[in-house]
Symmetry: C2
Subunit: 345 residues, 2 copies
DNA sequence: CTGAAAGCGCTTACAG
DNA sequence: CTGAAAGCGCTTACAG
């Protein structure tokens, strides 16, 4: 028993040395067994003794000590450069669940709204933590920043992106397909004049261009169909301005792809205020399937990818990358968006 | 320059030894200066040299190394035992902003919905990380668990709670006051028969009892006023069941305190489906001021505390506790809820 | 005022 | 198959 150790902290927590002593083995054996290292063969009997000792002492590994030794922590950093949204949170919760059994610690960072200099500082701090991997939205990390991460020893960077990148692995959520899906659905509902909301916040507008192209591809095959871009600020007054500017006069759009659910919400409200009936006068379509969508009136038709699936892919990709394996093809295949028809279209 | 060091990782990142060498001082001096330790006086000139060397090398401290040495990490763990909600996310973002300048790393854990055994395991892992502090909702940590945290070396635990606890510091968000505020407002609007939604999910119902008592205190002073408890499951069908069971027949409630915004939303939708007009037939009041509240129709009247204020308090409290100071009285004073009147009442 | 040295709790190459 | 030892990058008591 330690007697004159000048303990710096209160430290009641047992260490691997304590476990080793109790099991009557070396510290190395404890490490091998608890980490399931195959290279070294330890007898079944000894393994059982070690597990039991760990259990009895209530031993938990000290993540900092391990991280220091291995040169890599058990953290997975999630970096989001999008406004706080219900969708993002749901995605985070999904990832947290997925990682639990892998003993990984997901940490969320929201870089949206920070001045560029603070973003740089934030990234520097994140890299310095030497996370096992980084999962980031494509906008939140430039190619240069990904390179800098690698240089600082963070090799695994997975981007959630509208299209594949050359410089790192991506989970592809194709906004182009969302655009075609939206246009097809709205045309099928009998509309000819479509609109696409363009967020006036550049950070929030990620994937707009792809949506636009997807819609155009469908429109161009449909005689008489038109498409109009509708700039909008994310607020009630922004939605009102959109209505006054673009939903008046002959040939105005009668069906709007609202970019995502966050934009659909104030738009729906402003439309109701102006006595537009939804979907009879104007159809509205969102993206992300945010949790409140089913409760509002009219319930919001939306396009979405499965959050659980995104989370699972991200983790599997990180794990494959870490073990140096090639990434299975099914993980790089784009995750097709699905249409969820409710009442607003 | 290191030549035969058997580097385990790629490690391009500079260490404090590198900084010391470049500045021509000892490693200790670097540590003292970069951490702003006052105890040891280092000349202005040397300080400048150290800062410059750190800057030039792009030095960032290795958090794991420091944590291992200090017996405490720079993490602040936030533990939430509530369903994923926009409100929680907004609070998290506020805390993240607050902590940036203190070089603290907030980490969010959602324990809602996990089986008890997994919660225990999660807490064990959180404690083992030796965070600088824990900020938790009152339901997510029992007194016993707070004690266990202390025993594992995590001394600072701040609870966000409806009432002060004897065993640790609290940020008090008095649900009792929310109840009185709700009852007063609804009575002023001319209602006499009030209802209070009771979430059927025990974890979600935190603070229900206090709301109830607050409402009763007001009701009891008002001749002819009644109050009914309305059990509800968080879903559209749950809201429908509530309406069918409790909003029929003479003397039924005409004004409902929906527990919080999450419950108010499906309730509003179900009321609309049943052709109740809000607020004319039934008034509905929420809590939390979730971001979508202002966009729905009718816009949701709600009761809330300032997220920024909660985040700031939590951090200040943690910082005061760490430095061993007494907590300033203004931090322990309950954070009074405010009424935000919109259209649903 | 500055510097050399110990030690936090792990993992892993290496010797037995 | 098992164990002793080095070392990851810091902080801090202590000696000069």
């Amino acid at each position: 028993m330690p007697e004159k150790k000048p303990r710096t902290a209160r430290q009641a927590a047992p260490t691997s040395v304590d476990v080793a002593r109790r099991a009557g083995v070396s510290q190395a054996a404890v490490s091998y067994v608890l980490n399931g290292v195959q290279r070294t063969h330890v007898s079944q009997e000894v393994q059982a003794k070690i597990w039991q000792a760990a259990q009895e002492l209530g031993y938990s590994i000290h993540p900092s000590a391990r991280a220091l030794r291995k040169g890599q922590s058990d953290e997975i950093c999630l970096i989001a450069d999008v406004p706080v949204s219900a969708h993002l949170f749901e995605l985070f919760a999904a990832i947290q669940q997925q990682t639990f059994s892998y003993n990984l610690a997901p940490v969320l960072y929201v870089s949206h709204g920070l001045p560029p200099q603070q973003v740089e500082e934030l990234l520097r701090r994140i890299f310095a933590r030497r996370p096992m991997g980084i999962i980031a939205t494509a906008r939140s990390m430039t190619e240069q920043q990904v390179a800098r991460a690698r240089q600082m020893g963070v090799e695994q960077v997975v981007l959630v992106s509208a299209e594949p990148a050359t410089y790192t692995s991506c989970i592809v959520l194709p906004s182009y397909e969302a655009g075609t899906l939206a246009a097809q659905h709205l045309l099928e509902r009998g509309h000819h004049h479509l609109g696409l909301v363009h967020p006036d916040d550049a950070a929030a507008a990620y994937g707009f261009q792809q949506r636009l192209e997807g819609m155009r591809a469908i429109i161009s095959q449909t005689p008489g169909a038109t498409l109009q871009i509708l700039p909008m600020h994310l607020s009630l007054s922004g939605a009102r301005a959109l209505i006054e500017t673009y939903l008046d006069g002959p040939g105005h759009p009668t069906a709007i792809y609202a970019y995502n659910d966050d934009y659909a919400l104030p738009l729906l409200r402003a439309l109701a205020d102006r006595k537009f009936r939804v979907p009879e006068d104007i159809a509205v379509l969102g993206t992300d399937n945010v949790s409140f969508g089913e409760f509002i009136q009219p319930a919001l038709t939306t396009i979405h990818a499965d959050n659980q699936a995104i989370g699972q892919r991200a983790i599997e990709m990180l794990l494959a990358l870490r073990s140096g394996q090639a990434i299975p093809a099914e993980l790089t295949r784009p995750l097709q968006p699905r249409l969820l028809i409710r009442e607003s279209t």
